[in-house]
Symmetry: C2
Subunit: 428 residues, 2 copies
Amino acid sequence: MKPVKVGLLGLGTVGTGVVRLVEGHQEDLKSQVGSSIVIEKILVQNKAKQRALHIDADKLTEDPWDIIRDPEIDVVVEVMGGIADTKQYILEALSRGKHVVTANKDLMALHGPEIIAAARANQCDVLYEASVAGGIPIIRTLIEGFSSDRITKIMGIVNGTTNFILTKMSNEGASYGDVLKEAQQLGYAESDPTSDVEGLDAARKMTILSTLGFRANVALEDVSVKGISSVSQDDIAYAKRLGYELKLLGIAERQDDYISVSVEPTMVKLSHPIASVNGVFNAVYVYGEAVGETMFYGAGAGELPTATSVVADLVAVVKNLKLGVNGKQGVTAYKEKKLKTDEQISAKYFLLLHVADRAGVLARITQVFAEHEVSLQSVLQQPNPHNPEAEIIVITHDANKAAMNKVLRAFESLDVIRQVKSVYRVEG
Amino acid sequence: MKPVKVGLLGLGTVGTGVVRLVEGHQEDLKSQVGSSIVIEKILVQNKAKQRALHIDADKLTEDPWDIIRDPEIDVVVEVMGGIADTKQYILEALSRGKHVVTANKDLMALHGPEIIAAARANQCDVLYEASVAGGIPIIRTLIEGFSSDRITKIMGIVNGTTNFILTKMSNEGASYGDVLKEAQQLGYAESDPTSDVEGLDAARKMTILSTLGFRANVALEDVSVKGISSVSQDDIAYAKRLGYELKLLGIAERQDDYISVSVEPTMVKLSHPIASVNGVFNAVYVYGEAVGETMFYGAGAGELPTATSVVADLVAVVKNLKLGVNGKQGVTAYKEKKLKTDEQISAKYFLLLHVADRAGVLARITQVFAEHEVSLQSVLQQPNPHNPEAEIIVITHDANKAAMNKVLRAFESLDVIRQVKSVYRVEG
């Protein structure tokens, strides 16, 4: 079989890793797929730039169409990022019969169904394992490993930046602002950290995971999103004291074909496997009706871990090429999407309330919960040396989100409550 | 596409789960594979037996050849267990062009290469995801997810019975004998527990995992095996005090294409992800040169978790049938197997020594380590209220196994040592 020719769009961190793996593991790859894989052309922003990796200058191009329109290129590997232009390149590559491997979560979260349809129409593969959770092969797992099961819950720590921040805050008692600065210095957070810390990056990944897990096209706007920028050291200290870790979780749930997807800081019981996922690591917890609890853990980002997933996809494309079955194995989102209403979403909640320090306060607060039929698992009232007001911590039993919203609205006009300091979902 | 007809060999726990999943998820399966999957015939030991599941009597047979020789059967699903007879059925089924899905770890560990070769020769699929770690899709992950990487280490908690026993001993301070009895009452351990507690079951699974991970045919006799039947409550108490959990780990390692595979009780540092895998759960930790640390966690046994993997394989066979590519996607063990010598195996060790309680003992012991160039990470000498002799605990730095064996032999003739109470490998 003749060599398979790859055009690489982008030579940043992941692109460099792809070149290293394809070149460094050439013999192993050839033993598996039966032909060599050659990176023929690479799109870069500036051909003259000095690079750590030696690459023949005549392989580099600054014009994406040099790659997209090259009839010799069999597979386009897209690791440049971006949305509008990149989508155009990918659709054009597919229309010319080129297979596509992409690490682009933004593109797949926003335009996944369109791109997958275009690939099918052109009998091409489009694979995107690297778009979620870096080196963890979670997309394959959802498509193939659990093809026989009905997944009812996916919980993911799918953003390493926020998990690094929350882990540091928890382990070292540091403040959000200080740890964010450290993360920026270490290169774990961008200079504008909004997409990570406000949960948008995680929401995109949860769009992809829930679409695959529930086999219905979940859109980014279906995901309810809350970030970690208002998490305080107090919240984390309380979490620890009560036996929880605060984690930014993507949570996708299904009951009777009704689904909900959110990203939110969540109190996770220490005994839950996802509670001990620390630092920049990612993990995806999957609950299936038949398989029960499972969890998949690994590096969520980085040059080589992410490149591992990109090149595994490339191997899959080449195997399909050899068998002549490209474009025929994608998963279809064959189910109609039905979103849960707030009345259908059920969860436990943690509340930290700052209240007036006088008799009868607890009675008035618990009455509000009772009126809205939210029952309580535990209540803790105690002085806080940093706070002249009294503090009450409540953890509810499972309550529907609509009822919880009514409780919170009622609290706004309850004079004994000075401030609803924090509200978090509870898992585990 | 016409219905795919399945012959099921065995209707025990897993077989019952397979029937439940295939029948209960018929619509979902059809949406994925484009045809219905029908369980046409089922091999049972006794047709007259009462069953929890309603099954048409005319589907049951007591003669395996009824299934193997039925030209209508497309796929044979083997969940009956056993080795010699079962192998004969599977080879005959393959020779008649039937695809095979099996959950049989014993068969695949002992005769995997022969069965895989027979499948290839007949252009048939043979898939065996359920043979290791029940519902965890670890075989797919090693074949496809990490196709681009070089795996250097696989550590598995792949036997739920022993993990249940060690977890109980650790959490409740119970003795090995008492917990084994409880495990037998709960149905987690067989009345003859040898295969589980002596590590043989885990060794078979490690044979399969290391063959896939290292792409070289590892044989069962290549695995060095030690079980948990001599683990004492003292060992576990010391482990905890020093920040470790004692786990029965399968450990497969590769360096420069030289490999070693063992199953042994191992002290795992609490910060290692595999240390917190408790009870009957399984987990497989995989380290790849590029991807780094990953771990895959879930139920290792049970009716529905194991059936999830069997039916996922069945879905894969049916997809291949539809594409006409059966028998073409198996992984080949294309590397020559080279086993490490004891000089090449390097690990940390924990030793618990009962020694004479007099001056100079520690000096003489540490001198033996020094003579064999084993350097020490920590040494702890202390009284034990249950033991009139003194106790010394040593944890070494990385040492080669040959040197450690020399140390242990030297200890046999060292008069100050009353007994080498325990020796365990240390990880994490």
